[in-house]
Symmetry: C2
Subunit: 420 residues, 2 copies
């Protein structure tokens, strides 16, 4: 007879998973390899940036006080007494109506307080001596970057858990992080279940389908920031499967199986979790697709029983596995970013459960719209290929109309959220 | 004396770069390694999906015609004559008031045309024979997925140039792509210029700054889909630099230098391009930051002279290098996606040139807003760390006000655009 399972809400399910959250370990890697990794420690400024007042442009450093009486009718020549490139330091004293030729990024001579750009300096030579001729007031601080203007020593530059992007790489380089403390990637094992599954290189057979879930989930693990290991297919036999899972679990930080969690006669995962002594957090969620998603916990490791249905498997991963991985990577916003969008099409079928449909968000004028990314039956592999989001339709009796405002989870975004 | 350069528009500059666009080569890689790579060939469906009508749920396959007279007052028993798991095929003939126990994904027996879910089938046993009892009409096609419903044989599933994501991995697995045709990653060399630069592991020195641009650009190359090679720092000496560039150019698909393109006295790149015999596409653009960005072309390779200023370097890369790399990766939308957003802050300074400021887009209600991601002076490294977009402010006399609608380029998005 069929086991009756009591569904819990999606929010409750996410909470039960995250009650077991933990941060991973730190490893030091080369700055060259750091792009795309997650910081395991906050990065602080070890000095002011810029470290010294410097020129923002190629030009001439002067004393602004020498220009206060200048105008188009009253110009004045300044003698160019020195020349400094970036990285060089002026050793001359700069007096009244004197100037120093200065390159972008070079340190401002201590007597000067402004820079005049080449383009307006009217340079000329007289007897092999360079001069510039100015005919307007140059304000104090003109064309300069000031010490500490960008970053003050001691301030936190980037928080732990942040994904390192090219801008952060620039910061790390600026502050001398030749090696960077990042989170070790969690290793997540993947088993597929189901005698109906053919491997990708097996010839097609009547009644059978190719295993796409395991490959898909491995790519999702990578996108989330983990390292996937594929352990192949579990047989539909309890003892064999139990032994395989028990053995492989010791090699990974968490384990995912796809399929075998339903109430079907060949769905062995519930019995395997029992035999392992794992605590089942839930085995039924009030959502479509993915209502049979089962999550268990054993000795600090998560056991994810995702649905064998591709879309349910996909959604189950993003809701319950991704945040666990991101937390492992020290993220403070481990869940998918949730935004509001305008529904681009009618969804008139009433839903008892909360529905998550694979969607493509589009930007029109300054508004965000969400459209189904394919036919939205839960077995539709093609809808996953073009999904950049999951649109949430809470259960109701009337369905939803084009133009309704709905919540959307972004799949390819690094902002994240603290939801639920 | 100072060379006078005539600025061209950003659009014209992008066009001149893309006039030299070319696709790269194809390589076959394992499906396991394909996530995140770019397809170099379109992928077609080699058969219908599903390949056969199949059950969407665990339940009982029946003939819907046997239920047309049923109602809550008029129920009927169906004899369960066979049982098939996913991957198995029913070999029995199914007659009137007979049913086959069927698992999710299993092929529908040829005599049947609907499935009744376990939950409503009222299963019972009599004399060791299973029966179900139905008391309502089951419509033809209920709880089935039909042959070809998801994907029709022969249709293009995913176009060349698309970045492979987890959903596409699932499609590739479904269609037996054990190896996947992807674009070879272009190899892009990077030189830094400037005696003022210290390497990341050198101690700080008066007047000098750490080289952050080269590391940043390498991360940008990776994000765009290329392979960066760092060639170190060029000396501020013409002959040495010329020889180094000429030698390394043979090892890469394109070459980037940061710094040395201004009209400063130590800016050697213009002379090096001349000596190499490269065609300079432009050396001045009507934009801020990055107006001195110089791009040259030699024997099918691009020579990018990006500004030494970090923000100008960053913007120059995203506008002129990224689309070239993406085209190499077969993309049909190689440029950053351009959307419209509402400006979140005043920008009252008039601009003669088009300004690109580093921005963070935020979603509020169903609208998109853009905010500066830090102090927006062109030397501000910290503003780059949190930028997820570049906001475009075309030159005008009044500046821009909070609430104005402006165009924004998305940095972390795979949608892309055909702009300009």
């Amino acid at each position: 007879m069929v086991e009756v399972r009591k569904p819990i809400s999606v929010t409750e399910a996410v909470k039960r998973v995250m009650a077991n959250q933990k941060n991973g370990e730190t490893e030091l890697i080369s700055l060259f390899e750091s792009n795309g990794r997650y910081l395991s420690q906050s990065i602080k400024a070890t000095y002011d940036v810029p470290r010294f007042d410097r020129s923002s442009y190629d030009g001439f450093a002067i004393r602004s006080i020498d220009t206060i009486n200048l105008s188009s009718g009253k110009s004045k020549s300044f003698k160019v007494i020195d020349e400094i490139g970036a990285g060089q330091v002026c050793k001359r004293q700069v007096g009244a109506y004197e100037a120093v030729r200065i390159m972008t990024g070079a340190m401002l001579p201590s007597d000067c307080d402004a820079v005049v750009m080449f383009e307006v300096a009217n340079e000329f030579k007289d007897n092999n001596q360079s001069y510039i001729r100015l005919n307007h007031i140059i304000e104090k601080g003109a064309n300069l970057s000031f010490k500490g203007e960008d970053i003050k020593e001691g301030c936190i530059l980037v928080e732990e858990g942040t994904k390192i992007n090219p801008g952060i790489v620039a910061l790390l380089a600026t502050f001398g992080y030749k090696s960077v403390p990042v989170a070790k990637k969690p290793v997540i094992g993947v088993f597929a279940t189901g005698t109906e599954l053919l491997e990708v290189d097996e010839p097609l057979e009547e009644g059978k389908i190719r295993n796409s879930n395991a490959y898909m989930v491995m790519a999702q693990i990578e996108r989330a920031g983990g390292i996937p290991i594929y352990f192949g297919k579990l047989a539909d036999v309890l003892d064999e499967s139990y032994i395989a899972i028990k053995e492989k679990l010791s090699m990974v930080d968490s384990l995912i199986t796809t399929g075998g969690v339903s109430v079907g006669d060949y769905d062995l995962l519930p019995d395997i979790y029992k035999k392992l002594g794992a605590t089942v957090l839930f085995n039924k969620i009030a959502m479509r697709p993915g209502s049979v998603t089962t999550v268990a916990h054993l000795n600090g490791k998560m056991l994810y029983g995702l649905s064998g249905n591709p879309s349910a498997c996909y959604v189950g991963f993003e809701l319950f596995v991704r945040p666990y991985i991101r937390k492992f990577l020290f993220s403070k916003k481990p869940h998918l970013q949730k935004i509001v969008a305008t529904l681009g099409e009618d969804f008139l079928t009433p839903n008892h459960f909360t529905r998550f449909f694979r969607s493509t968000i589009e930007f029109h004028s300054d508004k965000v719209f969400t459209f189904p990314s394919g036919l939205d039956k839960s077995n539709m592999v093609s809808s996953l290929a073009f999904a950049n989001s999951l649109t949430i339709l809470p259960g109701n009796k009337e369905g939803y109309k084009k133009g309704d405002k709905v919540e959307v989870l972004l799949l390819e975004d690094e902002t994240g959220s603290e939801w639920p």
